[in-house]
């Protein structure tokens, strides 16, 4: 499995050094998280006192988290995030997998053209297109609706690319067998290819959900209405409203927003790495 697997263990000093370095970098990386959680359970008086300790003298977590959940419609923001991410993901899978299949397994005139279109899409940073996409949403009269949050992401060139790479590793014979078994091309996509590309599907899902759950740029442009805001935008509004006066509830809200992704990642870590290995690095 491992690249450094060897008969001999690392020598003791090397092992100690490894752990020392990794614990240090790990601690640095975790510092903002720790600080965030620490502030989220402190009362304002302790936050603004010039001294530091991780654990508060007076545990104020309940108050802060309650405030975060009631002061602003945080549950609503998170609900919006879940809804938007889920719809985007489903649509992306629906649109991308047949295209990826076609690119990976069929020969037809125009395939190279189609693939170069996908590669171009892969190259383009999406935010650059925000201006025309904004105008387009206006023309479609969907600004300030869920549709505006979703429609620019209906297709993911990255998804097409990732699935195509993965589909290419599936032997042609499986497709042939499916045709002989009487499956239509569409049925081959859904019933054979997609289930076989499960690691890619999971990796892509994580990428997609992380990307759209965390996106601030487009929602900032596309929605005005607080009841439509996804978590990052909501957090920003909350921050503005608090005007830095009360870090406790703000940090509580941040913690709540960050938490679902971290939990999801920890749960899916194994597949994620596998999917990345299979698809991205090839």
């Amino acid at each position: 499995m491992s690249a450094f697997k060897s008969a001999r263990r690392l020598s003791l000093p090397t092992t100690i050094l490894r752990h020392a370095v990794l614990l240090c970098t790990g601690a640095l990386i975790l510092a903002p998280f720790v600080w965030m959680v620490s502030l989220s359970i402190k009362p304002a008086s302790e936050i603004f006192r010039v001294s530091f300790s991780f654990w508060p003298e007076r545990f104020y977590g309940i108050e802060n988290y309650t405030k975060a959940l009631t002061e602003v419609p945080l549950p609503r923001y998170m609900g919006n995030g879940v809804l938007v991410c889920a719809i985007i993901l489903v649509l992306q899978i629906l649109v991308c997998t047949p295209c990826a299949y076609v690119l990976a397994k069929l020969r037809f005139p125009g395939r190279d053209l189609l693939f170069s279109m996908v590669l171009i899409g892969l190259l383009l940073p999406h935010q650059v297109l925000s201006l025309p996409l904004f105008i387009l949403s206006y023309q479609l009269d969907i600004l300030n609706t869920y549709a505006a949050l979703i429609f620019p992401y209906v297709i993911s060139p990255f998804g097409i690319f990732l699935f195509r790479q993965f589909f290419k590793t599936i032997p042609d014979d499986v497709v042939h067998a499916a045709r002989l078994d009487g499956l239509s091309e569409l049925a081959i996509v859904w019933r054979i290819m997609l289930p076989m590309a499960l690691p890619a599907l999971i990796a892509f899902s994580i990428f997609s959900v992380v990307g759209h759950w965390n996106d601030l740029f487009w929602p900032l442009i596309a929605v005005r209405d607080q009841s439509l805001m996804p978590p990052p935008l909501g957090i920003m509004v909350f921050k503005n409203e608090e005007a830095g006066n009360d870090y406790g509830p703000l940090m509580a809200a941040s913690t709540l927003v960050v938490m679902p992704l971290i939990i999801a990642f920890l749960a899916a870590q194994k597949w994620f790495v596998e999917g990345m290995t299979g698809g991205a690095v090839k």
Binding site: K5, T14, P132
Partner: protein, 324 residues
């Protein structure tokens, strides 16, 4: 788009045959030649993707160019072309120039920082057996976390009075600073946040690369006498990671050109233009100052940079990455 319709047409035809007779050869073969049918099916399946690629990528790109070359404003019903006036304006604008320069500096800090640290951590994690997934998860967390929320945590951490950083520095007697409000530190601090966020991504990609190095190579190196950790690193690990590294550099570089959340939440481009960067300029000019033409021109410049960067790097990688 007619592909989806055509697709369903094909399906209906098949199920009709399926209903009539099963496992039997129909007396008359279908009229369409198989090759044509396959083409139709292919485009039918790709139809929705083609439609959205056109509408959501190619059309907007054209749109950006049209707006950049015209004097169009929000709400305007007509436009006239003004040539490169918008671009001229962009390039004399001090804010934009600062923004471009800052972006370049930011990329030059973040890319090497993330890639080298990511590589180092990946190699360290993989070189031992214990706590592997623990370390991997920790270092990857920032990539997953909502940056808008984490930026607030960073702000608290860097707060000049109540922030942990200054408090810690003060305790060990080092000079403190108002990190986000000082022209000299704002951009480096954002870059550090950028590294903090991207290093995990680089690390995971490197881990994937490390896993694909065959164990045999290490054994061979061992037998060949390269049995010190450093020798193995130089003879096997690093060279074998070559192709992956190029991929990582591209991915991180493209991401490093697009920092927005931290800028928006933490500095709004300030102090001065000290932390103004391309995407934020694009946003501010387009959606805050409502200078549509200016914003579009910035977008075009931005686009040109990112696309050139990617193409150049893809060329450097040459035949090592096979997309076909």
């Amino acid at each position: 788009m007619s592909e989806p319709l055509c697709l369903s047409g094909v399906r209906v035809e098949h199920s009709a045959i399926g209903g009539a007779r099963r496992a039997q050869i129909p007396a008359t073969p279908p009229a369409r030649a198989p090759a044509v049918a396959q083409t139709l099916v292919a485009w039918g399946l790709a139809g929705p993707a083609v439609f959205f690629l056109l509408v959501l990528f190619l059309l907007p790109v054209t749109g950006v160019f049209v707006i950049a070359l015209s004097d169009w404003q929000f709400g305007a019903r007509s436009l006239s072309f003004v040539g490169f006036a918008n671009f001229r304006e962009v390039f004399v604008d001090a804010g934009f120039r600062a923004s471009l320069l800052n972006s370049v500096v930011y990329v030059l800090i973040v890319v090497p920082g993330s890639v080298i640290l990511g590589l180092m951590i990946a190699v360290l994690i993989e070189s031992g057996r214990s706590l592997r997934s623990f370390y991997r998860a920790i270092h990857f967390l920032p990539f997953m976390a909502t940056l808008a929320a984490m930026a607030i945590a960073w702000e608290a951490l860097l707060h000049p009075t109540i922030g942990f950083v200054n408090q810690a520095l003060a305790v060990i007697g080092l000079p403190t600073a108002n990190w986000l409000r000082d022209e000299n530190t704002a951009l480096p601090v954002l870059a550090i946040i950028g590294i903090w966020q991207n290093l995990g991504y680089a690390m995971v990609l490197f881990l994937a690369g490390l896993k694909s190095i065959p164990q045999d190579l290490y054994d061979a190196a061992d037998v060949d006498g390269a049995d010190l950790w450093l020798d193995r690193l130089c003879i096997v690990t690093l060279p074998m990671l070559g192709p992956v590294s190029m991929f990582v550099v591209i991915v991180v570089a493209v991401r490093a050109f697009e920092p927005f959340d931290a800028v928006k939440v933490l500095t709004q481009g300030g102090p001065g233009h000290a932390s103004e960067m391309l995407l934020y300029t694009l946003y501010r000019e387009s959606f805050e100052y409502l200078r549509t033409g200016f914003g579009a021109a910035v977008a075009v410049v931005f686009l040109a940079i990112v696309v050139t960067l990617t193409l150049v790097q893809a060329r450097i990688m040459g035949n090592r990455v096979h997309y076909q």
